[in-house]
Every structure is written in structure tokens, then in C-alpha cells.
């Protein structure tokens, strides 16, 4: 029931741990599988959770990256993510949190507007990736990106820290977000 804190434990040798949070179990499973298939020099640990906070009676390694997956076709997923965000320490938002909006290609089925999720990501100062996990190509590319980000967050890439990932927020396409 405790708040999730970054760097609260010593890191495992050559291991990077990611926590995927979403109500979409099947999609998460597929994403985790594709991430594990990625070619990565370090050892990957993938934790899946439907919502936060995590139960405190289980020992788990240091979590380097938290990925909130929002299904744009499901309003409940957004609400669940919003509730879970309360149980994350503020220091996590220094580049160790990423939002993933899936189902972005089928805009006619979207029940959540793009702007709402953009505002959410902007409010929490975290990068947002639009994708569609149902298509395989998207899934691989997203898995690749997440693995790279995880390596950066776990400190496996020398000279680059998780704070550098905040540059992902700078997009030239939507300059009006700052005004929002």
C-alpha cells in the first residue's frame, strides 16, 4: 500500500526492471513478450500490474521505469491510470515514467480524446507515446523504444540519465500545449 519510490533499493547487477500498469492484460502480455524478444545486453525484468499501489508484502527488485498504458478505446483504463498515479513518488516523474496511449490508429473508435491524454502527460511532465499494440509492427517498435528507455533509466547507458528522456516531451507539432 506504500508509495512507489525510485532508487529505494540497490540495483541488481546488469538487470533492468520495468513496471507496466494497465487494465488491458492481453495487450500487456503481448508487449512484455515482444520486449523480451528484443536484443538487449542487460537482463530484463518485467512486472505487470493492473493498478497501483502494489502490495507491500512481496520483495521485488528496484523498479527503473513505470509505463502507464492507456487504451484510448476504454475510458476505465484512463481512470485507473489517474488513480494509480497518486501512488507514485514525485521523483519518479524525473524521467522514469512513460505514458503509452494505445489504439491511436483507430480514431473513430476512440472514447478518449487525444487532448485529454496529452494534458495528463503534460501535467505529470512525462513523455507520451502514441501506438497501436494490436498491430505487430507497432508492437515491436514500441517494445524496442521501451527497452532503450529502460536501459537509460536503469543507468546501463553511460553518460545518459533518465532526466535526458524528458527531451521526449519536446514536440514541435503541438506548440499550443504550453499555452494550455
Amino acid at each position: 500500500m506504500s508509495v512507489l519510490r525510485p532508487l529505494d533499493q540497490l540495483p541488481g547487477l546488469n538487470t533492468a526492471t520495468v513496471l507496466l500498469v494497465s487494465t488491458e492484460d492481453a495487450l500487456l502480455q503481448q508487449l512484455a513478450d515482444s520486449m523480451l524478444r528484443e536484443d538487449c545486453p542487460s537482463q530484463l525484468m518485467i512486472h505487470l500490474a493492473r493498478s497501483l499501489p502494489l502490495p507491500s508484502n512481496v520483495t521485488r527488485p528496484r523498479i527503473d521505469l513505470v509505463v502507464f498504458v492507456v487504451n484510448l478505446h476504454n475510458k476505465y483504463s484512463l481512470q485507473n491510470v489517474q488513480e494509480s498515479l497518486c501512488h507514485v513518488d514525485a521523483n519518479f516523474f524525473l524521467g522514469k515514467v512513460c505514458f503509452l496511449a494505445t489504439g491511436a490508429s483507430q480514431e473513430n473508435q476512440c472514447s478518449i480524446h487525444h487532448n485529454t491524454i496529452l494534458k495528463l502527460a503534460h501535467a505529470y511532465r512525462s513523455p507520451l507515446l502514441f501506438c497501436d499494440l494490436t498491430t505487430k509492427d507497432f508492437q515491436f517498435s514500441v517494445a524496442q523504444r521501451l527497452v532503450r528507455m529502460l536501459q537509460v533509466c536503469a543507468g546501463h547507458i553511460p553518460g545518459v540519465s533518465s532526466l535526458n528522456l524528458l527531451s521526449l516531451m519536446k514536440t514541435s507539432e503541438i506548440p499550443s500545449l504550453e499555452d494550455l
Binding site: L54, R60, G155, H156, P158
Partner: protein, 249 residues
């Protein structure tokens, strides 16, 4: 309700992660010794990076950013302001309670005064008596003042009389002195000397006449002559005296 299955899911994925790690570990084991050295170097770099991250984290936690300091100052100022407000409220409350007590007491006093009329009459009688006494005191004081004024007037009169008597006495003394002076001047004047000289002459004349007659006239006739002379002397004396009286003022 949802958490236990989630934890299960997490554990299964941990297994998956473990499998993936094992797979990659196997891949690493197949590599040659050079790969081992590169792996070690990479791990060194990793640990360095992680150490750097932890250091920066520790520094960030240790150093208080100016914003936090400002916030703390603001909080302290706010706390002071709130304490002052609490004190003000306390004092205001005390003052108000005191005012209420006063009001209650005044109301009670009014009620008591209205209820106890008999005692009030006693009080009024006492007050009236005191007023009467005061009036009599003032009247007697006025009387005493009047008497004192009279006394003063009498003393004044006495003083004036004294002064008058003194002046009269002075006049009398001057008069006496004048009379004395006149008498002295009278004694010193030549009239008395003349009278005495004439008397001496008369005495001598008589003695001479006596001697003459003693030798010439007998005894019987002597006596008669003596008698005549005596009468003559007497008459002359009387004449002198009457002239003296004439000169007296």
C-alpha cells in the same frame, strides 16, 4: 479485491523476465573470453553510471533548494501570523467575557436595588440625616465667622481708643512741661529778689528801731511800743503779701 491477482500476474511476469534473463545469460556464456572482458567493462560503466545517479539523488535530497527554504520561511511567517491571531482571539475573548461579567453584575445590581426598597429607604433616611447635619454644621460655622468678625471690630475700636488716649496723654504732658517752664522762668525773674531785699531792709530797720526803743522807753511803754511795732510789721507784711498776690498770674 484486485490486488492479489495482480501480484500473481507480476510474479508470473517475473518468471518470464527471469527466463529472458536466463536466455540472455546463456547467450553471454556462449561468447568468448573477449566478450567476457567487454561485459565486465560494460558492467563497470553501468555501476559507475548508477553510482553517479545515486550520488546526484543524495545530493539533491541533502541540498535544500532556495524554493524549499523560501517555503519554510513562508510557513514560519504564517505560523507566527497564526499564533498572533490566536493570541488576539484569546485576548478578545477574555475582554468579551469580562464585559459580559460586568453587564451581568450591573443587571444584578439593578435588580437588587429595585427589589430592596426598604433598605433603600433606610439609606435615604441616613443620607437625609447626614444632609441635615451638614447644614447645621455650615450654619454654626457661619455664626462663628460672624462672631469672629464682631470680635475683630471690637478689637479695632479698642486699638483706636488706645491710640486716642495716647495722643491725649502726650498733649497733657506737653501742657505740664509748659507750666513748669513758666514757673521756673517766674522764679528766676528779679521780682522775688526785690521782695526779699525789701523784707531784709524792713527787718534791719525794725531791729534798729527795737534797739533804740529798748534803751529809751521804759518797760511799760516798751511793751506797748513793741506791740505797736509788731502790728506795724504785721501790717507791712500784709501789704507786701497783697502786692505779691497782685503779681501772681
Amino acid at each position: 479485491m484486485e490486488k492479489p491477482p495482480e501480484e500473481e500476474a507480476a510474479s508470473t511476469r517475473e518468471d518470464i523476465g527471469g527466463e529472458g534473463g536466463q536466455l540472455q545469460a546463456a547467450g553471454a556464456a556462449e561468447a568468448s573470453e573477449e566478450d567476457h572482458t567487454t561485459l565486465l567493462l560494460r558492467l563497470r560503466e553501468q555501476t559507475k553510471q548508477q553510482l553517479l545517479e545515486y550520488k546526484s539523488m543524495v545530493d539533491a535530497n541533502e541540498e535544500e533548494t532556495p524554493e524549499e527554504i523560501l517555503q519554510e520561511e513562508q510557513i514560519e511567517a504564517k505560523i507566527e501570523g497564526l499564533e498572533n491571531e490566536i493570541q488576539d482571539a484569546k485576548t478578545a475573548f477574555e475582554v468579551k467575557t469580562l464585559m459580559l461579567h460586568r453587564l451581568k453584575l450591573s443587571a444584578l445590581l439593578e435588580n437588587n436595588l429595585e427589589n430592596i426598597d426598604t433598605k433603600m429607604s433606610l439609606f435615604i433616611d441616613n443620607m437625609k440625616h447626614i444632609l441635615k447635619l451638614n447644614k447645621s454644621i455650615t450654619a454654626s460655622q457661619q455664626e462663628s465667622w460672624d462672631l469672629e468678625e464682631k470680635l475683630l471690630a471690637v478689637r479695632k475700636k479698642r486699638l483706636q481708643l488706645k491710640q486716642a488716649s495716647a495722643s491725649k496723654l502726650l498733649e497733657m504732658q506737653t501742657e505740664r512741661n509748659k507750666q513748669k517752664n513758666i514757673l521756673e522762668s517766674m522764679e528766676n525773674s528779679g521780682m522775688l529778689k526785690d521782695v526779699r531785699q525789701s523784707l531784709q531792709k524792713e527787718i534791719q530797720i525794725t531791729t534798729v528801731v527795737q534797739h533804740v526803743f529798748q534803751h529809751t522807753i521804759p518797760r511799760a511803754a516798751w511793751r506797748l511800743l513793741l506791740f505797736c511795732i509788731f502790728i506795724h510789721i504785721l501790717t507791712s507784711f500784709w501789704g507786701v503779701k497783697s502786692t505779691g498776690q497782685r503779681f501772681l498770674p
